[in-house]
Point group: C2
Chain length 487, copies 2
């Protein structure tokens, strides 16, 4: 029901705003199980649209979906040394089943490399069986101490792709293809343009040779790692005996990649576009793109207004618009406006008895540029005909606004830790500096600033002039890196 | 790669045939985790199409998807007495997480009534918040001693719908609406027409007031429970304090329903349509409906044939057909035919250099009626234009064949246990008899025949003349029931 209490403003307490907006937009709720959330229909509807779009992109690039077991023998996880070091502290362990203690404990998958490569080893004999390009949509479990709705929960939903290739080059190419898909999805669907690049050794996936990531900037100027793509080399194939006979007749280990995005992206969407009125959902991911609200004054013309509202909805639906008529009779129009704004529906059409006579509707836009009007009267025919274009325009507006924010909060030319700290404390964002590549230096900068290297940026994000010196030492820079405080 | 070894014929050992056909069609595979299977891309593709169709039907009837936690506190499961009695022996229990012993053990959901109604209790205050109509697509875990691929595995994928209503009548109506959706889906999509009806008290869901089921007949004349829909009354709402203020201002407990179908249906599909050559997938659920195989004789005209194959595929794709060109050059045409037949693709188009000249193609149909030709030459244009209609015709053919089988193996007029046993031992199927309603009689018949009451049939499945006497006693019949040996 309408809860007219105002949200904590973002500027006052971003973290409080985030939790409130998610609960009150009914995206998700806390559950009685520590660290596990419930994804409510509005949040799940966004996730379903994310899934559909990504799934189409995966399939268009030759990937197939499959499903592997939830439970993994503990001994599998332990086989790849770095992998178990990374995941052991977060495992949930099944020790009893069917009324008996298990001989070997089973862990709930924190990620599925081990079980999946064990299966590939069974299916792959020859180079003819390669590449294997599979993806699974699944729940995973990483027991977290401090949890945040969507951003860090003990259980979360994701997709995990796992591929096997005959050559290192082909696997590396796959890693980058997927990074490109993630980036395009975040730009064009979430309107959350990330920077991309390589992770430093200390930040890479447990078991990977190289990890690439998409890092997006939130409105509090903290970075969100929103998707990762890993080149695993032969680390897992050697442990799981994933061999094939090459075209030349030699026995070789396969080259693997793995990559994933999760419901965390819903949190990213909220922190990229939301405002002090609530969530703002980009049209391509909005379960409802247009809500039609009949404005009734008692019974006067009510039936005709309701009929017109349904007719408008039908016209929009035929044009491919996701539309809902909010005909609830136990709620005032104002309460409905408030609810749908809080949920972030891009457009609202209001229709009353007088509009019926004049052939007009009121169109309200969830977000406007500074100074523009939120509401306007439009001829009905025009409002309906233009709607698909308006939705696309709104989508572009959100993306460009986010891109502007990111660029406004990207800092270059920072020379030392003092300057870095100053920038981070004075607003934050991405800070590009030189680095000599030494992990000890990385650690010291991190300790002093609470920022981490988000990525070693891909060429298009690199500064026009490469930094000459390392931010944390007197050594010359060996590369440029992007720092940020992060989720 | 092509394994030309013949399948065990169904008539020789149905159970061996079933396992072989699933492994060799690459629908699924055994995993290193006891009782848990891997669903391979061909099997998962069928499941995805099942999901899409059912999801559309749920949404068209006002249901929304959501997601609830995998782990449930043991104390929740224990709250509804019958519920815990039913599920306790099959629970998988997490006792450690994040490196520590848990204070309260968490079970992996065997079904989610308890956690879901606990959440509804938080969300529902007034009759205005009702009905709540939610569904979730999820994995569940029931630790089984004897497992069968798709039919009974410790982990399986399913959907579970959970609804809350203001009145018993509305909840009962929901239960039946869903039963109707399940039945229509099984008839029109799987081509596996089930009988429907009420479960006896001994066979109902643990915690339900009444359970309804769809029961389909497999080719070995055993019944498969393929979907269930439960009227839960107020059993769970009372335990989880799911109350609402009624329109009259009274505090009342909500009325619940729950309902589910699972990947078990993939097993049903296999056992309904499969033959000694492999799986047969109904066109509406076939990830590939038409496979195009270019027939190449060395390099002679190879490029032109390949181009024609792609062109044919593009034409079919534009007509909404799911088509794949099998252009692998390391496999003979015969090996490809064999592989796609085993996987159950409805139609195959062959195209060779001479066909190119004559404007013909060869069309092969996966299953034909007795005496009909499996292969025919067709003018290319005709073959392409007719394909959508042919696919629908094939779909109908499979459904009608399955319906005929079911009716041929439905036995009526059986009077006593001796006759019942004779029919079951002499081929089996559904056997309709009278029953006095006494659970002790039901148990005795079960012990003597290894058959169970599958349903108390809905009116349209009842015999034209109601049985007068009980099959297991001298008492008059109080109702008609359908017996079968079952999976």
């Amino acid at each position: 029901m309408a809860d007219e209490k105002k949200l904590t403003p973002r500027g006052q307490d971003f973290s409080a705003w985030y939790n409130e907006v998610i609960l009150r937009a009914e995206l998700a709720d806390y559950s009685p199980v520590r660290g596990c959330m419930v994804i409510r229909p509005w949040g799940y509807g966004i996730w379903e649209l994310m899934q559909r779009a990504l799934d189409d992109m995966f399939k268009a690039t030759g990937h197939e979906n499959a499903y592997f077991p939830l439970l993994i023998p503990l001994s599998f996880i332990e086989r790849e040394k770095k992998h178990v070091e990374g995941f052991a502290p977060e495992l949930a362990v099944v020790t009893e089943a069917g009324g008996k203690a298990l001989e070997e404990p089973l862990v709930i998958r924190p990620t599925s490399e081990t079980i999946i490569y064990a299966m590939y080893a069974k299916w792959v004999q020859s180079y003819r069986d390669l590449p294997v390009l599979m993806n699974q949509w699944a729940n995973v479990m990483r027991w977290e101490l401090r949890t945040r709705l969507f951003l860090r929960t003990s259980e979360f939903l994701w997709q995990e792709g796992h591929t096997a290739h005959a050559t290192a080059e082909e696997a590396e190419q796959e890693t980058l293809t997927i990074l490109g898909i993630y980036r395009r999805f975040m730009e064009e669907w979430i309107g959350m343009p990330p920077i991309t690049g390589l992770k430093s050794e200390s930040e890479k996936f447990a078991g990977a040779v190289r990890s690439y990531a998409c890092e997006a900037l939130m409105q509090d100027n903290k970075a969100l790692q929103a998707g990762t793509s890993h080149f695993l080399g032969q680390n897992f194939s050697k442990q799981f005996d994933l061999k094939f006979q090459s075209e030349a007749g030699r026995e070789e280990y396969a080259w693997n990649t793995s990559w994933g995005v999760s419901t965390r992206m819903v949190g990213g969407l909220v922190m990229t576009h939301g405002d002090d009125r609530g969530v703002v959902v980009p049209p391509r991911l909005a379960p409802v793109q247009v809500v039609v609200v009949p404005i009734l004054h008692g019974d006067e013309g009510a039936a005709a207004v309701r009929e017109k509202a349904e007719q408008i909805a039908a016209t929009l639906r035929d044009a491919g618009v996701r539309v809902r008529v909010d005909a609830r009779d136990n709620l005032s129009p104002g309460a409905k406006f408030y609810e749908w704004e809080r949920k972030g529906v891009p457009f609202r059409l209001e229709i009353g008895p007088r509009d019926l006579e004049s052939g007009q509707v009121v169109l309200a836009r969830r977000v406007v540029e500074d100074g523009a009007k939120r509401k306007e009267f439009l001829a009905e025919a025009e409002a309906l005909a233009d709607m698909p274009a308006r939705l696309e325009g709104f989508q572009t507006f959100l993306k460009e606004r986010a891109l502007r924010r990111r660029e406004e909060h990207s800092h270059r030319g920072v020379k030392d830790i003092g300057e870095l700290k100053e920038v981070l404390d004075g607003g934050g964002g991405f800070v590009y500096t030189g680095w000599n590549g030494d992990p000890a230096v990385e650690q010291r900068v991190k300790d002093e600033t609470r920022a981490t290297i988000r990525v070693i940026p891909d060429p298009e994000f690199q500064s026009s002039e490469a930094p000459a010196t390392c931010v944390g030492s007197d050594a010359p820079a060996r590369m440029e890196v992007a720092w940020a405080r992060a989720y």
